[in-house]
């Protein structure tokens, strides 16, 4: 068996060949510093950055001046929260609303901001991972400065009602930040239609290089600068630009925009084939996330009575790379905070596996994955002392 199936595209993606080709010349041919405007080599680098910026702006229905490049999704999330918090310090605004299922880049930043007297409300989610708009409205205080809700969840793929949230934020004059790291390239995003003020993006989730991301900042938004230094990114995010990475990001977005609907339709078909295949062939499974309001490439199941890490190790032996929300793989005491927030018991959460597809995947790969999972789960269940839901709930 030499089959190799990479089904962990929410973790990162293969950098597309076209992207690499576009990037290469910015290492050794067009290597000028974009700040060096007095000679051609520098100007060429600057032009390349601006071209990528325009690609992104067009893709989001934004203005080029509203797009900033950062070192990735984590930095953008940090910037959004800290930048808005610090701009509001000592102005009577000290409250942020976010959700229990955000990426750690959001959750740990909110924890850090407590040191500065910033309070955070973490919204609950239902069993599908959706927030409750009434709870959101009830959580708004006169001191609320920011609502930060992820577009789509990285573990369970659930897509939030972003437009409705945006309307509520706008009505109350509160800034709205969206972590769109997983959604970019998978869901159509029009920052104006959705009333988004700030949005985090990352290139490596859609076939671009790692270590480069972006932030959309609506014109007029009060936010502090994040990295202080030279005048790059109009003084808001200093540091010599990673020109080749920015070029790669732009190319990845250009490719994603090119064939959007067909690509998403095909991925959705593959996703549903995998969901149905697992449901119909393996007993005692729970689909995590929403049945339909989910990313086109995301499948997340809990396999009762077995544990996720052992599933991953057996999958690896069959050439399949996936991920799990079990504690064993998170390196912490508890299984994934996202799965627990959807109300899953610990035991069931420990048996969760996420498969995230890419365009490289074919139908036969899906069928192979279902067959392989069927064998693996049977093998582990034969070895498990937990045989039913009663055993699972003990303790």
């Amino acid at each position: 068996m030499s089959r190799k199936l990479y089904l962990d595209n929410a973790a990162t993606t293969r950098t597309k060949k076209e992207v690499i080709d576009e990037m290469m010349q910015y290492f050794d041919v067009l290597y000028g510093n974009p700040s060096s405007q007095l000679y051609e080599l520098g100007r060429k680098s600057k032009e390349a950055i601006e071209k990528a910026r325009k690609t992104l702006a067009d893709f989001l229905n934004a203005d080029e001046k509203e797009i900033y490049f950062t070192a990735g999704g984590t930095e953008s999330d940090n910037w959004a929260l800290k930048g808005v918090a610090f701009a509001n310090l000592n102005k009577g605004k000290n409250h942020i609303i976010t959700t229990k299922i955000e990426h750690h880049a959001i959750l740990h930043t909110c924890e850090y901001l407590e040191k500065f007297g910033i309070e955070t409300t973490y919204l609950d989610v239902d069993r599908y991972g959706l927030i409750d708009l009434d709870q959101l409205k009830e959580s708004i205080r006169p001191e609320t400065m920011l609502i930060s809700v992820m577009f789509a969840n990285n573990e369970i793929g659930t897509i939030q009602p972003i437009e409705e949230i945006g309307e509520i934020a706008k009505e109350h004059g509160i800034l709205f930040h969206v972590d769109a790291v997983q959604a970019l390239g998978s869901v159509r995003i029009d920052v104006n239609k959705l009333h988004i003020d700030l949005m985090s993006m990352s290139a490596h989730k859609l076939g671009g290089p790692k270590g480069i991301g972006g932030m959309y900042i609506r014109k007029g938004t009060r936010i502090d600068n994040f990295i202080h230094g030279g005048g790059q990114e109009r003084g808001r995010r200093a540091g010599t630009e990673g020109v080749q990475n920015i070029v790669g990001f732009g190319k990845a977005v250009e490719i994603a925009a090119r064939n959007f609907d067909n690509r998403i339709e095909r991925l959705t078909g593959l996703r549903n084939r995998l969901i149905e295949g697992i449901k119909n062939n393996i007993p005692d499974v729970v689909l995590n996330g929403h049945p339909t309001r989910r990313l086109a490439n995301n499948v997340n199941f809990s396999f009762k009575y077995v544990e996720g890490e052992s599933i991953l190790l057996l999958l690896d032996m069959e050439g399949i790379a996936a991920s799990s929300g079990s504690a064993c793989t998170s390196g912490s005491l508890d299984p994934s905070h996202v799965l627990l927030a959807t109300g899953l018991d610990h035991g069931t959460a420990h048996g969760s596996i996420r498969f995230t597809l890419s365009e490289e995947i074919k139908e036969e790969d899906i069928d192979y994955t279902v067959e392989t999972m069927k064998k693996i789960i049977a093998k582990l269940r034969a070895m498990s002392p937990i045989k039913n839901d009663e055993d699972l709930k003990k303790n």
């Binding site: 032996m317 390196g331 005491l333 070895m383 303790n395």
Partner: protein
């Protein structure tokens, strides 16, 4: 991340399964923590004639159970009770620090099964005189 021995025991677990007419059964851990080990013993003349395990848990939990059953099979109950988690780790060629609790669980599962046997047969096993299974519950020490 795991040694060759761990992977070998994970891939081909020794003594997986159950013994229907076991003389001693021990179960430790809980689903909340993500590991449960259950050990079944068949004992004749104080010798462990057969042993099986059932484990819910990560790769190292399965490997720890597997090697622990190998280490006690054919041994006397007095020898088996001496099995330490350190011995399990050594036999496995080492475990990552965050997985040491799996070896602790294996030691406890063996002790718990021996204790069950001692209770059922009114025997006193040296080293288990003051053993109480509930004291041995570890609480999600990953």
């Amino acid at each position: 991340m795991y040694s060759e021995i761990v992977m070998d025991h994970f891939r081909n677990p020794r003594n997986a399964g159950r013994i229907e007419d076991a003389d001693g059964i021990g179960q430790v851990g809980n689903p909340k923590c993500g590991d449960i080990m259950k050990i079944y013993l068949k004992i004749k003349d104080d010798i462990i004639e057969d042993v099986k395990f059932e484990t819910f848990g990560c790769g190292s939990a399965i490997a720890s159970s597997s090697i622990a059953t190998e280490m006690i099979k054919g041994k006397s109950i007095n020898e088996a009770v001496e099995i330490s988690n350190k011995a399990v780790v050594e036999a496995l060629g080492g475990l990552p620090p965050v997985k040491i609790h799996c070896s602790v669980l294996a030691e406890q599962a063996v002790k718990s099964a021996l204790y069950d046997y001692a209770q059922k047969t009114n025997k006193v096993i040296k080293g288990l005189e003051n053993y109480k299974p509930e004291d041995d519950e570890i609480h999600c020490q990953h």
